[in-house]
């Protein structure tokens, strides 16, 4: 919606097919459309947030084939044939993902604006490294900024989720 490319017929569209939260999505996207705008404005998935626009803050983090990417600087067409997971797709059959529950139990968010990206980055970490130590968590997560919590409770939430607490 933000950039309504239907107004720009001169630009060649790229046909894409991908899965978003397990559902197949087929569309024709302009080459410069970011994955963030595609998710938010074309698919109405508002969980990923726009902040720094420079791949620094991590608020727009989503998973592409399981890896955390900054969707503000990742083009939608690059996600063709990929499996994309957003925060909306994390809970399964109404059951929160252990990280979501752990973020609640450990008070790992306040304003919540960084939280979708934070949880997905943490998921990407735990999928690669089931039991990271604190140092590994801090190193992996430093691409996600939180201005509210001071990070301590986020580290605790990730440790607890990894330990199955």
């Amino acid at each position: 919606m933000a950039i309504n490319e239907t107004q720009r017929p001169d630009i060649d569209r790229i046909p894409v097919s991908l899965t978003v939260n397990g559902r197949t999505v087929t569309d024709n996207v302009p080459p410069e459309l970011t994955l963030l705008d595609f998710l938010r404005d074309w698919l109405g998935l508002k969980g990923a947030k726009r902040s720094c626009d420079l791949q620094v803050c991590g608020a727009c983090t989503v998973l592409v084939n399981g890896r955390a990417v900054s969707s503000c600087t990742f083009l939608a067409f690059e996600a063709r044939n990929a499996e994309v997971t957003t925060i909306e797709g994390l809970a399964q059959n109404g059951e929160l993902h252990p990280l979501q529950q752990s973020f609640i139990d450990n008070a790992a968010f306040q304003c919540g604006f960084c939280t979708p990206g934070m949880i997905l980055a943490a998921k990407s970490l735990l999928d690669q490294n089931h039991h990271p130590n604190e140092e590994e968590i801090r190193a992996y997560m430093k691409g996600n900024i939180c201005r509210c919590t001071g990070y301590k409770k986020i580290v605790e939430a990730i440790v607890a989720a990894a330990n199955g607490d």
């Binding site: 919606m1 720009r8 947030k49 909306e88 809970a91 529950q101 919540g112 604006f113 900024i145 201005r147």
Partner: protein, 747 residues
């Protein structure tokens, strides 16, 4: 019996926030909504000779262009203290990035194209970039004068005090311009019609925005509705009125709702914290007793006043610290320069004031050979003492808090070693303390409505904005506790000026205390009504009734709240309403005296410094908050930890840099904020709970104190590690490295 207060119960917004359902202004789609973009001044100071927007207006897809020529019928100026800020530039621009024109179009690409078609002719004016230049007679003036505001505090005779002192110290400190970086930039959707205005906005103080818009656009208050959904952080950056008038004016020309979503770069050009230069002169006795203090404070308020006059006032009060002063004289000024306007930022004026005050306390302690902890305790005000002339006596006990912080960081161990400890040839460590006392709470003006539905559940209506601090949850806890119903039976609706009753503002650590009291009073009113109904039901005097777990009990019998309401209204219908009014006269007038309460900021830092690179690491950081009673201990810790990390940001690297009036680093690559990498190995929060706060259940607010003393705690630790005193923030590796070299005579 307690149901929820004092327990780490989950936030009521928890599910919304971990599932991505929580909607922020930028997530809203208003029917008919179009998109706005702002044309900003490339010049820091220039006369606007002409603006030609005809071509832009003709571009297909453009619905409206706003310039100074499109403001007919609108009072274009606003400002929380001084009405000096126009919606868009009028005769001149005063900082790089100031809005000059705006476009509403069917999509952002068209809006961008239209912006490029607007022709603005400027005549560059000489620039004022430093406060020193600004106050020199004959220097270029941004407004009628460059002195925005000046505040004075004066008691006792400082000259006599200095004459009686054994030693007099005078030091000057500087504090950088910093930016809040709430992750969500300012976003407003304005909808103007002939009947009134609706605005969805990132506003901490929606009722103050309502007043401004009503005045500017000629409506009465009931015609202006401000709706604030979840906020993606505030920290003061979204206090008072910011982009709302522009969004509304643009909607007026476009005839449609207009969404104005700023980028982070634009947010950098909307508001920031005041840079400061502070000179502190302190007279002491040889035994460390403070005798007199005189301070001269200059705060750089940028191009417009915003909250600068209040910030100057608060900095002036807060530079006295938590200490007893037989004489004190402070002059504190806010000065205009050609830069982003400076406004409120978490504990206004306090980090600047504490940076100077608390650094100098250590300078004095070192010079007199007194332990920095002891000199603080010796001069500290204690419970019941008058902190500032005519203000509320201190209800807390900062000395106990400071001792706890010192103990937690292992102060005594280091004192025994007397100085910094070398870890290796390059690494040294040291410990430092900092503390401050801030009168907070703003004014006691908050109202709440507590509605009990026919099934016994509650909807609480408050004007407190949920900006992450957990206000909705705290209010739910207070209502739940007072009416003995579970948390999940309480919903809290906040910040919709046409629905919720009035609240002055969300800031100054005031909401749990003042709105908390209003909610508690509302809940008590509901309880009284329930007891009245139960007295009829049981045919028994109210004195024989009690409530427990959603029931009224009487001589071994019980009846549910919902059943009582049904009995009154007949059928499954009706509800009870309780009102809470917090005013200067309410509660026996006990909230009238300023401040509502005193918030401590106490920090202790252990610092590891690489003397070869100047790089600082913080192995251990302790923050103490006196909360009276923690309504939710886990959330209190979170507030304090967040504040501490934000404080470490301006201490270690945050700084907005200007050159020739151009902001060099308005982005997250060039302006660094703390990440996980800067989290101290051990970050500790200590909550003091003496039940001595004026809020519900003896609580008092927090959230600001934690940011205040980070700077001096770290700089004092560096001094103890190296003997080198640094009087400028931030403590970047380069600055520290240069200071170390200078001290060794290598520069």
């Amino acid at each position: 019996m307690t149901t929820t207060v004092g327990k780490p119960v989950p936030r009521i917004d928890a599910l919304d926030k971990v599932t991505g359902r929580a909607a922020y202004v930028g997530d809203l789609e208003i029917p008919g909504m179009v998109h706005g973009l702002i044309l900003r001044s490339p010049w820091p100071h220039a006369r606007v000779l002409s603006i030609d927007s005809t071509e832009a207006e003709r571009l297909p897809g453009v619905l409206g262009v706003l310039t100074r020529d499109h403001l007919e019928g609108i009072d274009a100026y606003f400002g929380s203290v001084v009405r000096d800020r126009p919606i868009v530039a009028m005769d001149k621009v005063r900082y790089q990035g100031e809005p000059v024109a705006a476009v509403a179009a069917r999509d952002l690409a068209t809006a961008q194209e239209a912006l490029e078609l607007i022709r603005v002719e400027y005549e560059e004016l000489p620039l004022v970039s430093e406060m020193e230049e600004a106050l020199v007679p004959g220097s270029p003036a941004l407004h009628e004068t460059n002195l925005c505001a000046e505040q004075h505090y004066d008691w006792g005779d400082v000259e006599e005090g200095f004459a009686q002192s054994d030693r007099v110290f005078e030091d000057t400190f500087t504090f950088p311009m910093v930016y809040h970086y709430a992750l969500e930039p300012h976003t407003s959707i304005g909808h103007y019609t002939n009947q009134g205005i609706t605005v969805w906005s990132t506003a901490q103080h929606p009722f103050l925005v309502r007043s401004d818009l009503a005045r500017m656009f000629g409506f009465s208050l009931h015609q202006v509705r401000i709706i604030v959904p979840y906020l993606g952080g505030g920290f003061g950056s979204k206090s008072y009125t910011k982009m709302e008038p522009l969004a509304v004016a643009l909607s007026k020309v476009a005839g449609r709702p207009v969404r104005l979503a700023l980028s982070v770069e634009e947010a950098f050009k909307t508001v920031r914290r005041h840079a400061a230069r502070l000179t502190v002169k302190t007279g002491v006795k040889l035994d460390g007793t403070f005798v007199a203090r005189e301070c001269l404070i200059y705060l750089d308020t940028g191009a417009y006043a915003d909250n600068g006059p209040l910030v100057a006032g608060r900095a002036g009060e807060r530079i006295a610290g938590p200490y007893r002063w037989p004489s004190l004289k402070v002059s504190s000024s806010a000065v205009y320069t050609n830069s982003t306007p400076a406004g409120s930022f978490r504990s206004i004026g306090a980090p600047q004031a504490a940076w100077a005050s608390e650094s100098q306390v250590d300078i004095i302690a070192h010079d007199l050979g007194i332990d920095p902890l002891e000199i603080r305790i010796k001069n500290m005000v204690s419970r019941g003492e008058e902190v500032r002339r005519g203000q509320r006596p201190l209800e807390g006990d900062p000395a106990t808090g400071l001792r706890l912080a010192a103990e937690a960081v292992g102060w005594d161990d280091e004192a025994a070693e007397e100085s910094g400890r070398a870890v290796s040839s390059a690494l040294v460590t040291g410990k430092g303390l900092g503390c401050n006392l801030s009168g907070v709470g703003s004014s006691p003006t908050s109202t709440a409505l507590v509605r009990m539905h026919v099934d016994g559940t509650l909807t609480v209506l408050v004007g407190t904005t949920e900006l992450g601090q957990g206000s909705r949850s705290a209010m739910a806890q207070v209502a739940s506790e007072e009416l003995t119903v579970p948390m999940d039976s309480v919903d809290v609706i906040s910040s919709d000026t046409s629905i919720v009753p009035y609240d002055r503002s969300t800031g100054s650590s005031r909401s749990t205390t003042l709105m908390g009291l209003a909610v508690q009073d509302g809940a008590i009113e509901v309880k009284d009504q329930l007891l009245e109904l139960a007295a009829l039901h049981f045919e028994s005097p109210v004195e024989e009734l009690s409530i427990e777990e959603g029931q009224v009990l009487c001589r071994g019998e019980s009846i549910g709240f919902g059943e009582l309401i049904q009995e009154e209204f007949g059928g499954v219908a009706g509800e009870l309403m309780g009102r809470g009014y917090v005013t200067p006269r309410s509660h026996g007038g006990r909230l009238a005296q300023s401040p509502v309460f005193w918030e401590v900021g106490i920090s202790a830092a252990e610092v590891e410094l690489d003397v070869e690179t100047g790089a600082i690491r913080i192995p251990h950081y302790v923050s103490v908050a006196d909360v009276g009673k923690a309504i939710n201990p886990q959330q209190c810790e979170g507030q304090d930890e967040g504040a501490a990390m934000q404080g470490l940001g301006h201490t270690l690297f945050e700084e907005m840099l200007y050159e020739d009036g151009q902001l060099l680093n308005p982005n997250l690559i060039d302006y660094k904020v703390p990440t996980f990498a800067e989290l101290p190995d051990k970050l500790e929060t200590i909550l003091i709970e003496n039940g001595d706060g004026p809020g519900p259940f003896g609580s008092k607010g927090l959230g600001e104190g934690g940011i205040v003393a980070a700077g001096p705690a770290v700089a004092n630790a560096i001094f103890r590690a190296t003997g080198v005193r640094i009087k400028e923030l931030p403590l970047t590796p380069e600055r520290v490295w240069r200071a170390l070299r200078r001290a060794r005579g290598q520069d």
